[in-house]
Amino acid sequence: MKVKDKKWIRFRIYVVAAFFLLGFATILARAYQLQVLESDHLKAIARAGYIGKTKLPPKRGTIYDREGHELALSVEVGSIYAHPKRIKEKARTARVLSRVLGERREKILRLLKSERSFCWIKRRISPDVAKEVIVLDLAGVGVITETRRYYPGREIAGHLIGFAGIDNQGLEGLEKKYDRHLRGPQYNLIHMRDALGRPFAISRPIPSGHGMRDLILTIDKDIQYKAQQALKSAVKKTKAKGGHCLVVDPMTGEILAMATVPEFNPNIFSEYRPDQWRNRTITDCFEPGSTIKAFLLAARLEESVVSPGTKFDCEQGRFRIGSNVVHDTHKHDVLSVSDIVVRSSNIGAIKIGQRLGYKRFTDYLKKLGFGSKTGIDLLGERKGFIRPVQDARAIDQATIFFGQGMTTTSLQLAMAMAAIANGGKLMRPYVVKSIVDRSTGKVEERHPKVVRRVFSQKTAKETAGILEGVTGQEGTAPRAAIRGFRVAGKTGTSQKVDPKTKRYSRTKYVAAFVGFVPLEQPRLVILVVIDEPKGIAYGGVVAAPVFKQVGSWALNHLRVNPNKGPSSVAHALPPISDKSVALLRGKGVVRSTEAERDPKRRAASHEVDRIAQELREGSLPDFRGLGMREVLKRGRALGLKVHLEGTGLAVKQEPGAGTPLQEVAAVRISFRPPG
């Protein structure tokens, strides 16, 4: 019997064949679904399973001071890593590594026996040791070049700059505040690993994100260093707890120096306590004491309630406010407003203040920036405290006029003084002058910003004039006077509140001096605060000498000329020589007459004429409207020291155009961006 002959069997076999065909078709359809339709989705899940990413710490940009000195930079070092799962001879590997690296064998062995697929053995070692490890060629052990943050200036501006951690992440100070900018491109290592966690392929480092950016600070490294040195020796001499010193350009709000003592070396930050990392010029508040009288005076003049000559009875040094008695250090009978400030009479200050009223005075203080953040580009700034009028008792309403019962940061005080120095404007302080993208060369400039006008020009000038008396022989701070310059300022000696008794201590003081120089064209506001000096604690004795040291040194460094006048030394300038002309010719500023035929160069020839005219007359040219490069070229060609301020086109020059060259040694030119 054959199957062929039995139709029903044939039929049933066809059914079986159909069953299998159906089965294969279903499977094919499913394969299509998995491998074509859902492929991308499944592939992504699979990839997530076997791909790992190791982030290499990014390099960081360099931090420069305003003159281009490096304050923080990254140096290359080697780091040793291991893939523990790939190492078979763990004991031998650990032994060899411990010999080369000088680490304990057990510690390395423990790392090698860990279940991880990647671990660091030792990081940030010298390139020589790293090379030794490379030569050993141990299975599962490798070397990666990393960078380490290095602060060549050590303590210089340490508090301001802060520091970056082992993974190059900014942790404190500018390093933290500008972490986003300083962080270089992030490099990622992609590696694939099997299900046992063993990597089998590692990619080349892949960069991501932006290029490298550098910071250029407003800080002048030399002034900063001088400020730290002077402050440190003063703190040492007076056995004080610490101190602050700020140097600010009153016209722009640029911080030239920001010093805190005790000092701090960010290279070895872990050896300090976290509270020693603090930039106390912005994070610590204290009672400003008599320094506040400078602003009382200005407020008074602005309101024109009294003239500087108005006299007040100073009650022979004792004055009763309710149940409290206010004392003066020296007994005074009757003093004029100027003398009250110059000699720093508390009773006089109360009497002036009472005419003004607590509310109006504190409004001025607030306008001067007290009680709110200055907005400086740093982290951790505090606001300070001014008691609202409804909370102020009678005694509070009196002591505020000599700066007790309110608190301020050093920076607030310096900026308020800057407002008097610069003609009445409160500037916003800043420490980063510009951010430079290393790859594109693009520069992001930071510009001075006026927060508000607080006093009129006239009030500021008048106040400054009176404050000059403070450094005179009759004032409280003759030790702040700098030879050849007119210095204005104000001392302060405030009692500190004893944290235990919550009352004013009789032994703990803050001695302060804040002032500016030169009076006519203030270049520097300098604040000096000494915290808890032992012995004589007067600001005029303890803080004023630091002002003088820093001030005279900085003025010299910035080549600011002493006052002209009978007492000042006349500067003999060499007359314009042929050499200058030759120099100009060499630089292509002076062109030959052939060029005049070319219409494009006609403008240039006019320029030559103008220069020639000026040279002949031997007077200072008009720099206004020129770019910075041109100003420098011409100024130097005339043998002048040229000081530049701001950016853009020249808008102002000092001395003015036409001044005989014989009388000019240096020229100071302000720039403003056009438009």
Binding site: M1, K2, V3, R12, I27, Y50
Partner: protein, 367 residues
């Protein structure tokens, strides 16, 4: 139709060529899938390749031998064959003889070689069913002669395979028996009653044992517990998906790197799918399709009823395993341990399957 009594000295190339291609592909894929595993477990990345090559040679030898042995030989040896394979199944349950892997005793070990009696049992049953059904002829329609003896013999085999425990193989054999009985002429009503009666038993067996129930739920929703019970099937999906249309290239599978368990045995197809892509998988399915349809054609053209039933039985046994294995790795059927015929690593399965192909070739040559 006129009867043609012809004997063909050649080979049925529609069977031989797909088989040679499939075992060749199997060697390559098994090596690729197992080399890391073998290196890790045995310290020799060629371990599974060598074994597979050895069994290929053995199997192809047996296949050529079987091509020339008249298939009537098996019908004379049917009862001793049935008895031997049954005894081997019983031996598995004797402590000390069965080689336990993962709680199941499925292998007999002898001098470093292990042998899977259930593979022989499938073959023995195929011969028995063909012989018995051909003998009964027209009586297949009766319950006592057509259905009962076959159900009893097959049932005894299934019981012992189930006791290993290996419910999956037992169920494959059960389905296969139903299929072959259907072709043999058993009435639909009787077949449906058998299904209806055995269904509650199977359900109870699944429900009763924890891991089987878990497998069932995993099948329903593998993504519920991707790191636990759904791990294997999910990584199977990931392998297929990663392959895309053209595959990642031979040797480049990621899932074989200890992600997908059993990459060279039951789950070899996902690795092939990852490395060779949808095109590779399609090629494998088409080759199996040609093989199965050719086998069925052999059954249709066979010169007597016994040969026809034998050809159909052997073909459908291979076909069922192919469909179930592919269905499992693609998540269409619940997970169960079953190799992909001719491709998966595993000696017993490969040798028995090649032997079956040899018999098919023999039947094909004598139409």
């Amino acid at each position: 139709m006129a009867e043609k009594k012809s004997s063909n000295s050649g080979y049925n190339y529609l069977i031989l060529i797909p088989v040679i291609l499939l075992i060749g592909l199997g060697l390559v894929v098994v090596y690729s899938a197992s080399s890391h595993l073998a290196e890790h477990r045995m310290g020799d990345s060629y371990y599974y390749l060598k074994r597979q090559a050895f069994f290929c040679i053995l199997g192809v030898g047996l296949m050529i031998l079987a091509r020339y042995i008249p298939c009537t030989l098996y019908s004379r040896l049917v009862y001793p064959l049935l008895l031997v394979s049954f005894c081997l199944l019983v031996m598995l349950l004797i402590p000390g003889l069965g080689h336990k892997v993962g709680g199941a005793s499925r292998w007999l070990r002898w001098k470093g070689f292990s042998f899977q009696p259930s593979e022989l049992a499938k073959f023995a049953l195929a011969v028995y069913m063909a012989y018995s059904m051909a003998k009964k002829g027209i009586n297949m329609k009766t319950f006592s002669r057509g259905l009962l003896p076959h159900i009893l013999v097959a049932g005894a085999f299934m019981l012992f395979i189930f006791l290993q425990p290996d419910l999956g193989t037992a169920l494959i054999i059960g389905s296969w028996v139903l299929l072959i009985l259907f072709v043999g002429g058993v009435r639909f009503l009787q077949l449906f009653s058998v299904i209806a009666l055995s269904a509650p038993v199977v359900l109870w067996l699944v429900w009763h044992v924890d891991y089987r129930l878990k497998r069932w739920f995993t099948f329903l929703n593998p993504w519920e517990d991707p790191n636990g019970i759904g791990f294997q099937i999910i990584h199977s999906f990931l392998a297929f998906g990663s392959g895309g249309v053209f595959g990642v290239g031979l040797g480049n599978s990621k899932q074989k790197l200890f992600y997908l368990p059993e990459p060279h045995t039951d789950f070899v197809l996902p690795i092939a799918g990852e490395e060779l892509g949808f095109l590779g998988v399609t090629a494998i399915i088409v080759l199996f399709g040609i093989l199965i349809i050719s086998g069925i054609k052999v059954a249709l053209k066979a010169r007597d009823l016994y040969s026809s039933y034998l050809a159909l039985g052997l073909t459908s046994m291979i076909g069922l395993q192919v469909v179930v294995n592919m269905g499992v790795v693609m998540g269409l059927l619940p997970t169960k341990g079953l190799p992909l015929p001719l491709i998966s690593s595993g000696g017993s399965s490969l040798v028995i399957n090649l032997l079956s192909i040899g018999i098919l070739l023999n039947i094909s040559s004598r139409t």
